[in-house]
């Protein structure tokens, strides 16, 4: 028997495979299938700040204040008070997932502003969330806003939320920071229990017909795991925060590499969307085979075994490896050129 257990955000998990925020958690059916397939925990689909704002604007304009000042119509849509906000539905769904799943459920907040998150966090806590993942969707496009200010904003947001709830909080980060370890140190001070590396932004695309910007999100590819491997390897052992690797895991191979680099959990989304929840079970089985073949007995054993600290040549994951890749475009040493 392997001991696949791991720990993330202080949660004891039976294995390191955790479906990340995706539409799969929206339906109880697929959530149950994920659990059956072996998922150790579930990160819910995100509660988007923008969606709550848009919904508020919609309700304000078209339900609560839709009068146009004409005597025949005080409004145009029935406001029977039965409609619930996305937040209410989210909370209800969270409670439902908690009542039917035995694995921990991590609620996910996605936003950018500083307001309202504490109240939201409390409500999620009350609805039974085991932990929170805070995904700060902030594109630092303002030239007057320094990198330091950006980082301070993250820390401040986290600190505020941490002060308001008793749940462990993971911060999901983008790779676009000039000094990720420094930021993570600040987050640690602000009360984070983990970081998830990395989020994948919705990217604007250009529609050539209409010349309009359109949102688009492509599924990940295994190549994207490389960036995660590097940073997990760098951070493992240098922070007390638990580490989640997110993005690019399509098979047991990426999962194992990330664990070797030092991830406490590995998130899965695109591969599950492509192949269904049962894919998780297959990856788990393939991991076990690989471990068996190499006589690993536990995840704890392999976790971080190839982190930067544990490598004979720590530079290999920093700039040196870049140089080596460039070298790799030259002919092999034995070849005369």
């Amino acid at each position: 028997m392997f001991d696949l257990s791991t720990s993330y955000l202080g949660l004891k998990l039976k294995n390191p495979l955790v479906p990340s925020s995706s539409p799969l958690s929206k339906h109880l059916d697929t959530a149950l299938r994920l659990e059956d397939a072996g998922a150790a925990a579930l990160v819910m689909h995100s509660l988007f700040e923008e969606q709550l704002h848009a919904e508020a604007k919609m309700a304000d304009r078209f339900l609560l204040n839709s009068g146009i000042g004409h005597g025949e119509a005080e409004g145009f849509l029935p406001d029977h008070g039965g409609d619930k906000s996305t937040l209410d539905h989210y909370l209800e769904h969270l409670a439902k997932l908690k009542s039917r799943l035995s694995i921990p459920v991590i609620a996910s907040l996605n936003g950018v502003s500083l307001s309202g998150w504490v109240d939201l966090g409390r409500e999620l806590q009350q609805a039974g969330a085991d932990a929170l993942e805070l995904n700060v969707y902030h594109v630092a496009a303002d030239a007057n806003f320094s990198g330091e200010s950006v980082e301070a904003r993250y820390a401040s947001l986290l600190s505020e939320l941490h002060g308001g709830v008793n749940l462990p909080i993971a911060m999901k980060l983008s790779p676009f920071f000039s000094s990720l370890p420094h930021l993570i140190k600040q987050l640690e001070r602000a009360g984070a229990r983990g970081v998830s590396l990395f989020n994948r932004f919705y990217q604007p695309d250009i529609d050539l017909d209409s010349l309009r910007m359109v949102d688009c999100l492509h599924l990940s590819t295994p190549d994207e795991a490389l960036l995660r491997i590097r940073w997990i390897a760098i951070l493992h052992g240098r922070t007390r925060l638990t580490l989640a690797a997110s993005g690019g895991v399509h098979s047991h191979e990426e999962a194992l590499k990330l664990l070797l680099a030092g991830a406490d959990v590995v998130h899965l989304a695109s591969c599950l969307l492509l192949h269904g929840p049962e894919r998780l079970g297959q990856i788990l089985a393939d991991m076990e085979n690989w471990m068996s073949e190499r006589e690993y007995t536990s995840v704890a054993q392999l976790k971080g075994s190839m982190s930067q600290k544990n490598l004979p040549d720590p530079d290999a994951v920093e700039r040196a490896s870049y140089i080596r890749v460039l070298d790799g475009y030259g002919p092999a040493r034995g070849v005369r050129s």
Partner: protein, 1195 residues
């Protein structure tokens, strides 16, 4: 008492609460001002609220009031307790069934918000003409005069009807009572239970049709027994007044509120008495109290039960000392020597006098309050004064200045009652969309429910749907408020103006009383605010010694991230300044109300509103007016300094523009057209200036595609061609460039000109503009810009543009979008919603065919923005020709239009015969040409007009005995294009029978259905055009069935030209369809997708949503042209491609669908799947039809 015991509600809700509790089946059809009663019932049912018997009443919306009445008759016959709510034309449609229901002695209560019946014009406002039309039905008529009475009488009517088996029509004044918000004492559920006797309910059920004990009802009877049968029911009517009084008495025992059949108030030794019913009785009551306290011997008799009429009780209720009586009727019976109540009272006294029971008093009859005309204490005083005259007017009118038949009584406008003086009055000027009305309703609730004060709110709305002005009239006082009239001049201790723009346009301080408060939302500071006002307002501030407060509410809203939502901010100012409640208590109450309204929908909105409320007081400043000097008395001047270039004709100057300025009440009878016929071409004089931003043309970038003109809902962007030298004296900012098309002579110039004060700022034109700056896609050939610096120069440019000579219409390609854009619209500057999706179709029709259009317009949005005074958007070419427009009813529009066609054809044939008969006078060639003219195309019509001119010249010199007759008919020799226009409520529901019938006939009519997929005008009720899964009133859980496929139904006849169009998705197809439909000699039907504010998205994106509707398969574009079948072609043309976008994406982008995902997520999922399947199926079926006759491919 708690707020649930003394709620602050309007008359409709007050009546509906009882009706809901006491009934099992509620069949309705929306009609103003009764609609909200049905909507309340629907809302309560959708929440599962039980009636008295623990069940949720079944609510059903029918296709018309006639349908509702039929359903009610059936439900009552089968044993249910049933009710409905209606008004005016709706009540008239129910009349046949009312006779039946009464004839069968059926307990039933119909609640009516009484409204005038359309005569020379439609009016949505209140009087008793609808109720009076029901006198012969056998229904009992019970009149409530206040919100409290509407609540109480709803129950008393129910109890009495069950006891006496006479159905009751319980009515109260439309708008004045139905929409007045007042604090009332609610009837406890237990009281309702005690009033409704179980044994009487059981007796009703026992009489129900049942196969267990079958009977026959609804027989046909012969002369032998019909008459006796009618008389057989007399005893029920004889007993009924006593039964109603018994119900009044039982009610009094339970609630302490005692009513009688005829309630007398006033001096016990009165000599002069007014008799009337409805809300006016409350105003008379207030005035009588005032006069009797000054020892005047006057009184008022409030008629409660009008039918069955009980003369003995009426006479007994009037003091024997009475020497003169004025009976006031809120209706008019033309040709009669008095109105109904007057005649009844006169008859009662005549009989009593003849029997020696009572001396005959002098009895006068007066008409008042038609279509909610104001009825004030000053007018009441005038009646009492008239009664004191030695030779009073036997018949008179009140509230108007009748300089034609001189029937009106003059009145003292400054007369006020003690009760009025004891009240606090407040007036609020708001924009329709700025939430002023809802905030005021909220304030009244707070005051009504958090204090012992009585509160009243009445709201004056606008005829416009964009940039509408609302005026809220609020009263508060220690005693019950009987003032059923507006806050008068110099009465309001508090006046708020929520929009700075209004200070330029209206005398917003006329109601302000000396020493009162004026609160203004303005960007001006406390230091500059006074100077920013027009002189007449500054003068009033000083003269009336007003405390002047200012706040920049838009700035506060912006800082609080509330966008442009200012209502809670202004509400906070009102409470802070007025001191009606302690500030802290008021702010807590406003916040509580915000939580109640917004809490379930968005905590963020609650948070933002709270933030705005907290920020408000710091931004509220009092202006120091003590030092202000009195400005010179120059009077009120609109937009001083500007003189319109367009000089209006005398009628517009003397009638239309005063109406627009809000001075219509002062126009005398002689100023009115006698038959309801008004001039066209008047909207252009309004210059409403409601846009904050207007489009600016980048002439260099523009490709002159004309799409902006094509989509403009308000005809506020125009294109015109002209020779270069015509622009020699153009204003310096007037833009024009050489026309790019090679179709026009070299040097021809083109200009796209915006009407800056007619544009609503919707932005549809900019969205539709396909041309981007290659180096900066955000810059287009049209771009929205702040109107302030543009208003004056563009005003001059527009004047210049409109004065340019009209380009030769024949030289323009009507069949292209750029070409059609060059045709002058004869429908301009309507008051439709900004971004309306209907009006571009009407504008297009007038561009193409306006000079020969006869329009029959169904009641609805299009009749309101088309023909609601003071102005009309329909206009003419320079030669005076243009669409002639009329509205008959909601339900008969297809038939109305068909009648126009028949008349046109008949008179044309008659004229042609006369032409032949007068051939000797006219000359052979001209006769042939006139009689056989080819007039399908515009050029042919123009040629015929020239022939007719020649004909008329010849006839002038003719001595033929029929030459005058032919001269009067000659214009009918010119072909007319008959258009039948209306919305989906008309075409799919109430008028479908007529529409269907007209479609089966061969006559050449063009039917344009402006399909918003919902009843737009009455506020979003479900129609049969509403798509599956859409939320609408009466479909709170999403419409469960598919939209009716009107296109397919019409095309199935085979001889009807049919098109389904969406101008924002494929403008060329829309244009082609209009041209083809008009040229087809049989019936044509264009079903036009019309985005509406009821869809729940910003109409700036109207075009984008039309595109999505088509791309998703929600709205396939088709044309069915029977002419093609005749030429062995396939009449079916599918003009849209196979759906490329999931219908879910379309549905999720509109609130009408998206809100279901929050209220009923599982149903929403189900409906989206079903909608996809319907769209796929429909597309495939259209595709199969379009491919008929194509060679088969494959094996």
């Amino acid at each position: 008492m708690t707020s649930s015991q003394t709620p602050t509600i309007d008359g409709n809700e007050a009546a509906a609460r009882i009706a809901y509790l006491c009934n099992e089946v509620i069949a309705i059809y929306p009609i103003t001002p009764a609609s909200s009663m049905g909507e309340w019932a629907d809302e309560w049912a959708s929440r599962g609220q039980p009636n008295l018997w623990g069940a949720t009443p079944k609510i059903i919306e029918m296709q018309s009031e006639a349908g509702a009445a039929g359903a009610l008759h059936g439900a009552l016959s089968a044993g249910a307790l049933a009710t409905s709510f209606t008004s005016s034309q709706g009540l008239l449609l129910m009349i046949p069934n009312l006779y039946k229901i009464a004839g069968e002695l059926t307990p039933f209560v119909l609640h009516v918000a009484s409204r005038t019946v359309a005569t020379h014009a439609l009016s949505i406002f209140g009087d008793h003409s609808d109720v009076m039309a029901c006198r012969g039905t056998g229904f009992s008529l019970l009149a409530a005069g206040s919100v409290q009475e509407a609540h109480d009488f709803a129950l008393i009517a129910q109890a009495a009807s069950l006891a006496g088996r006479i159905p009751m029509l319980h009515f109260f004044d439309g708008f004045r009572t139905s929409h007045e918000v007042a604090k009332i004492i609610a009837i406890e559920r237990d009281t309702v239970r005690m009033m409704i006797a179980d044994d009487l309910v059981a007796a009703h059920r026992t009489r129900a049709l049942s196969p267990e004990h079958p009977v026959l009802r609804g027989t046909s009877q012969n002369p032998d027994v019909f008459f006796q049968s009618r008389e057989r029911a007399n005893a029920f009517y004889d007993a009924f007044p006593g039964i109603v009084q018994a119900a009044f008495d039982r009610f009094a025992g339970l609630t302490g509120r005692q009513y009688t059949l005829f309630d007398y108030v006033g001096a016990h030794d009165a000599e002069r008495v007014i008799v009337l019913m409805g809300s006016g009785a409350e105003t008379v009551h207030e005035t009588v109290d005032h006069l009797t306290s000054r020892n005047e011997k006057v009184g008022v008799l409030k008629v409660r039960l009008y039918r069955p009429f009980d003369p003995a009780t009426l006479i007994a209720a009037i003091p024997a000392s009475t020497r003169a009586i004025a009976v006031l009727d809120r209706c008019k019976e033309p040709g009669a020597d008095g109105e109904p109540l007057y005649k009844d009272v006169l008859g009662a006294f005549a009989n009593a006098a003849a029997d020696g029971l009572r001396a005959m008093p002098r009895i006068l009859g007066g008409r008042y309050g038609l279509a909610s005309k104001e009825f004030t204490p000053g007018m009441v005083k005038a009646v009492f004064d008239e009664l004191a005259q030695a030779l009073p007017k036997r018949q008179f009118t009140l509230g108007i200045h009748d300089d034609v038949t001189n029937l009106s009584l003059p009145w003292d406008e400054s007369f006020r009652t003690d009760a009025g003086n004891a009240l606090r009055h407040a007036v609020f000027w708001g924009l329709g969309a700025d939430g002023t009305v809802s905030a005021n309703k909220n304030s009244i609730k707070i005051i009504g429910e958090d204090t012992d004060l009585h509160a009243q709110g009445y709201f004056v709305y606008d005829s416009k749907k964009s940039g509408a002005v609302t005026v809220s009239h609020l009263r508060f006082g220690a005693a019950p408020i009987r003032s059923a009239y507006l806050v008068g001049d110099n009465d309001a201790g508090f006046v708020a103006c929520h929009q700075t723009l209004f200070t330029e346009r209206y005398d917003v301080l006329k109601q302000a009383r000396r020493g009162g408060v004026f609160l203004l939302n303005t960007a001006a500071s406390a230091e500059t605010a006074l100077d920013s006002l027009p002189e007449n307002l500054r003068q009033q501030i000083v003269e009336k010694e007003l405390a002047f407060w200012v706040i920049d509410a838009y700035q506060v809203a912006h800082e609080a991230e509330m966008g442009r939502r200012i209502n809670t901010i202004m509400q906070t100012c009102f409470f802070a300044i007025s001191g009606i409640l302690p500030a802290e208590q008021a702010i807590a109450a406003i916040k509580k109300a915000v939580e109640k309204s917004y809490g379930t929908k968005s905590k963020r909105l609650v948070e933002l509103n709270h933030r705005a409320i907290d920020m408000t007081l710091a931004h509220l400043h009092q202006v120091d007016v003590a030092q202000a000097s009195l400005p010179a008395a120059t009077g009120f001047a609109k937009d001083a300094g500007w003189k319109p270039a367009l000089q209006p004709p005398a009628f517009v100057r003397d009638v239309t523009l005063p109406l627009y300025a809000g001075l219509g009440d002062r126009l005398p009878v002689s100023a009115m057209p006698a038959d309801g016929t008004w001039p066209v071409g008047t909207a252009k004089y309004e210059k409403r200036g409601i846009a904050l931003e207007i489009p600016v043309w980048d002439a260099a970038l523009c490709t002159q595609c004309g799409k902006c003109v094509f989509v403009c809902p308000h005809s506020a962007i125009r294109a015109r061609l002209f020779p270069a030298d015509a622009a020699a004296d153009a204003p310096v900012t007037f833009k024009h460039v050489p026309a790019k098309s090679k179709d026009y002579p070299a040097g021809t110039q083109i200009s796209y000109q915006v009407a800056p004060e007619d544009c609503t700022g919707c932005g549809d034109c900019v969205e539709a503009c396909p041309i981007h700056d290659k180096s900066n896609v955000s810059h287009k050939a049209l771009n929205m810009a702040d109107v302030s610096p543009l208003r004056a120069p563009e005003r001059d440019n527009l004047d210049f543009f409109l004065a340019l000579p009209e380009f030769d219409r024949d030289a323009v390609k009507h069949t292209t979008i750029p070409g059609s854009a060059l045709l002058d619209p004869l429908f301009e500057f309507s008051g439709a919603c900004a971004g309306c999706g209907e009006t571009p179709y009407i504008r297009l029709a007038t561009q193409l065919f306006g000079d020969r259009m006869l329009i029959a317009n169904a009641t609805g949005c299009s009749s309101i923005y088309g023909g609601n005074l003071p102005t009309t958007p329909y206009t003419t070419h320079a030669d005076g020709r243009g669409p002639a427009w009329s509205n008959s009813l909601f339900e008969d529009n297809a038939e109305f239009g068909l009648g126009m066609r028949l008349a046109t054809d008949q008179l044309m044939a008659h004229a042609q015969n006369l032409v032949k008969e007068l051939a000797g006078e006219i000359g052979g060639d001209l006769v042939d040409a006139l009689a056989n003219a080819e007039q399908r195309e515009e050029a042919g019509i123009r040629a015929q007009r020239q022939r007719v001119a020649i004909l008329l010249e010849k006839l002038q010199n003719s001595a033929h005995p029929r030459s005058h007759e032919l001269a009067s008919l000659a214009e009918w020799l010119i072909r007319r294009s008959v258009w039948i226009i209306g919305g989906d409520g008309w075409a799919y529901d109430i008028g479908y029978g007529g529409l269907d019938h007209v479609l089966t006939l061969p006559w050449d009519v063009n039917i344009l259905v402006l399909d918003t997929e919902v009843y737009s005008n009455t506020g979003g009720q479900t129609s049969k055009a509403t798509p599956i899964g859409a939320v609408a009133k009466f479909s709170a859980g999403g419409k469960a069935t598919a939209k009716k496929d009107l296109v397919k139904l019409a095309a199935d006849y085979g001889h009807v030209y049919v098109a389904s169009v969406a101008y924002g998705a494929k403008d060329t197809q829309t244009l082609r369809a209009f041209i083809e439909a008009e040229s087809y000699l049989g019936p044509s039907l264009i079903v036009a997708y019309s985005p509406c504010i009821a869809h729940g998205y910003d109409l700036q994106y109207n075009g984008r949503q039309q595109e999505a509707a088509v791309k998703s398969g929600h709205w396939p574009l088709i044309r069915f042209d029977p002419r093609l079948e005749a030429s062995a072609g396939n009449p079916w043309k599918l003009d849209s491609a196979a759906p490329t976008q999931p219908i879910r994406e379309f549905m999720e982008s509109e609130t009408r669908f998206a809100m279901l995902s929050r209220s009923h997520p599982e149903a929403a999922e189900h409906f989206m799947a079903e909608a996809q399947s319907i769209a796929d199926r429909r597309y495939q079926s259209y595709l199969a039809l379009a491919r008929q006759g194509e060679p088969k491919t494959g094996s």
